[in-house]
């Protein structure tokens, strides 16, 4: 009697691969059927699913510890404050930051970048200064800079992309100059999958005295990130893309910069002393955490980080390199399908955008949904990039820890069937 493939159990320790099937079982939402088919969730770049441990932690917090933080002297207030503050330490350790005060907990990447653009930008950007972004930015790391440049009559410059979706650093010396005050770039593109050479660009920027912001929304969930060696000054990410609750995120910033920054939003919890005519601000990080935050979400976020660390970020990255390699191979066998981004899985993540010359991405998405496959179709909040790619929209399949090659196979089969269905 021979073993069927599904009988082979690969344990985590003696394989470089994760066992996606075992992982999938921890995510209740993934066990359902959609339109009569087993759900294949490939919209992870938009938001990841949540393991039972995270869901349980939210419920446990509300059932046992719920109270506002930093303001009560009773037992529950102490418990919730401790849980909240211990997540801050957890996050700091996760990104190799030595000082948890440098970790500002907020609602996500969008809030974090706006904070930098308004608080740091208001003070340091003047008429004629240059702000550098790249052509592949998500609107979250684009619009705040467009608005800041307008407000300050500063110049917005951009690092262009190559035809295979990498940053084109030829001529970077004309883009990042002594006039450059800030460089903002994504660590990993949500459309192209490209992992950008953040350290290299940060080094150039620092030579010119500029500050560097990296949008890590797509990077932190998928690879080890160490802010102590990355070389940037600010780093941002969102919990919901890394197994955590929605409405929670992180702004990491160097203490010497944060210390000198004015608050972006004002109100409760972020002050030292308040008079009718004068207010002094709290120390960091509280200066940048006004009002009652998403306490339960933050507490749940710690459970998400636990889950990721148990798997190991190196292994997660390795797993995704393998899936990306397989997905690129299989998708490129489909006639006429156009795939965006680098072809080398070593320099990209597992968000794969593609278009079919004959079928609009919305029709692709609707068809795949009828087969139980969830992908994203649209402009992915990166309209300027899509314009450069010459597309109004793309379809995007993005993979995570609970996906494996069988999900790629389901996707590829469905696309082939779709082409027959539409008669193209």
């Amino acid at each position: 009697m021979h073993t069927k493939p599904e009988d082979i159990v690969i344990t985590e320790d003696n394989s470089s691969r994760l066992c996606a099937r075992t992982i999938k079982a921890d995510f209740p939402v993934l066990s359902q059927n959609i339109n009569g088919h087993k759900l294949v969730y490939l919209d992870n770049a938009a938001s990841s699913q949540k393991p039972q441990t995270v869901i349980d932690e939210l419920s446990r917090f509300y059932s046992e510890d719920n109270a506002n933080i930093h303001r009560g002297l009773h037992t529950l207030a102490e418990r919730s404050t401790n849980a909240y503050e211990s997540t801050r330490k957890r996050v700091a350790k996760f990104i190799s930051c030595q000082n948890p005060e440098e970790v500002i907990l907020n609602s996500g990447t969008t809030a974090a970048i706006n904070l930098i653009a308004y608080s740091w930008g208001e003070e340091h950007i003047n008429e004629g200064d240059e702000i550098v972004i790249t052509e592949m930015e998500h609107h979250a790391n684009l619009i705040p800079w467009v608005i800041l440049a307008k407000r300050k009559k500063a110049v917005l410059k951009r690092i262009p992309i190559t035809s295979d979706g990498r940053l084109n650093l030829n001529g970077i010396e004309n883009i990042i100059t002594d006039k450059t005050k800030i460089v903002a770039l994504s660590h990993m593109s949500n459309v192209l999958g490209t992992i950008n050479p953040v350290s290299e660009i940060a080094e150039i920027a620092h030579k010119h005295g500029a500050v560097v912001v990296a949008d890590g929304a797509q990077a932190v969930p998928h690879m080890p990130v160490d802010v102590s060696t990355l070389g940037v000054d600010f780093y941002t990410f969102s919990a919901h893309k890394m197994l955590g609750p929605t409405g929670v995120g992180v702004l990491w910033g160097k203490k010497e910069l944060l210390d000198k920054m004015q608050p972006f939003m004002t109100g409760g919890e972020m002050i030292r002393e308040v008079h009718f005519d004068k207010v002094t601000w709290a120390e960091i990080p509280h200066r940048f955490e006004p009002g009652t935050p998403n306490i339960a979400g933050v507490v749940g976020f710690a459970a998400a980080i636990d889950y990721l660390e148990k798997l190991g970020m190196d292994k997660i990255r390795q797993h995704e390199i393998e899936i990306t390699k397989y997905a690129l191979e299989q998708l490129s066998k489909i006639k006429n399908l156009e795939i965006q981004g680098p072809t080398d899985p070593q320099i990209r993540g597992a968000a794969v955008s593609f278009t079919d010359p004959d079928i609009h991405p919305h029709d692709i998405s609707t068809f795949l949904d009828s087969k139980g496959i969830a992908i994203r179709a649209g402009h992915h909040c990166a309209q300027p990039l899509l314009r450069i790619l010459g597309k109004v929209a793309t379809a995007r399949a993005s993979f995570y820890i609970y996906n494996d090659e069988t999900d790629v196979d389901r996707l590829v089969e469905a696309i082939i069937e779709m082409r027959k269905y539409f008669g193209v």
């Binding site: 339109n35 079928i359 609009h360 991405p361 919305h362 029709d363 609707t366 068809f367 949904d369 009828s370 179709a377 649209g378 402009h379 899509l386 109004v392 929209a393 269905y421 539409f422 008669g423």
Partner: protein, 158 residues
């Protein structure tokens, strides 16, 4: 989910072979529609003769549903009186939104669009051509035919 209920044969036929794509000579009014959610665009140009639509150019760049909807519209409204077309377009809009409507018995291929209403995220795709037509006629009636109206599916349409 009944995919075939939305992508009916008639719809796929209009998608593959869209009608109303031949440029027209003179035009009496035109309008442009845009669906920012997916980037679909439509340009409509209409020529009139004695209050009837004598020629129509409807160029839709987009998904199967918006393309087919534009094609069905172009085919159906040709030769009809502007007043009547406006009434029909408003009723098609209501039909797509699942509201009570009063459509004539002979709807041509319009009834093939009915399946779209069961796919809420795709209703705007089907609406684009019709709301663009309604705005174009409205503009013409209010004496601004020389201006091209630009319509967005995000303006009060949901």
């Amino acid at each position: 989910m009944l995919l075939d209920d939305m992508y009916r044969d008639v719809i796929l036929d209009h998608y593959r072979y869209p009608r109303g794509r031949k440029p027209i000579g003179k035009k009496d009014f035109s309008s442009i529609g845009h669906n920012p959610a997916c980037g679909d665009d439509i340009t409509i140009q209409i020529a009139l003769e004695n209050g009837n639509i004598s020629e129509i150019f409807a160029d839709c760049k987009g998904c199967a549903i918006s393309t087919a909807s534009g094609s069905i519209m172009a085919e159906y409204i040709k030769g009809k009186a502007v007043d009547e077309v406006k009434e029909i377009a408003q009723n098609v809009r209501q039909m797509l939104k699942g509201e009570p409507c009063d459509l004539p018995d002979d709807m041509g291929d319009i009834d093939a669009l009915e399946g779209v209403k069961n796919f809420p995220v795709r209703i705007k795709c089907a609406l684009l051509a019709w709301i663009t037509l309604i705005e174009g006629i409205g503009n013409y009636e209010s004496g601004h035919a020389d201006e091209v109206v630009v319509v967005s599916t995000e303006q009060g349409e949901d």
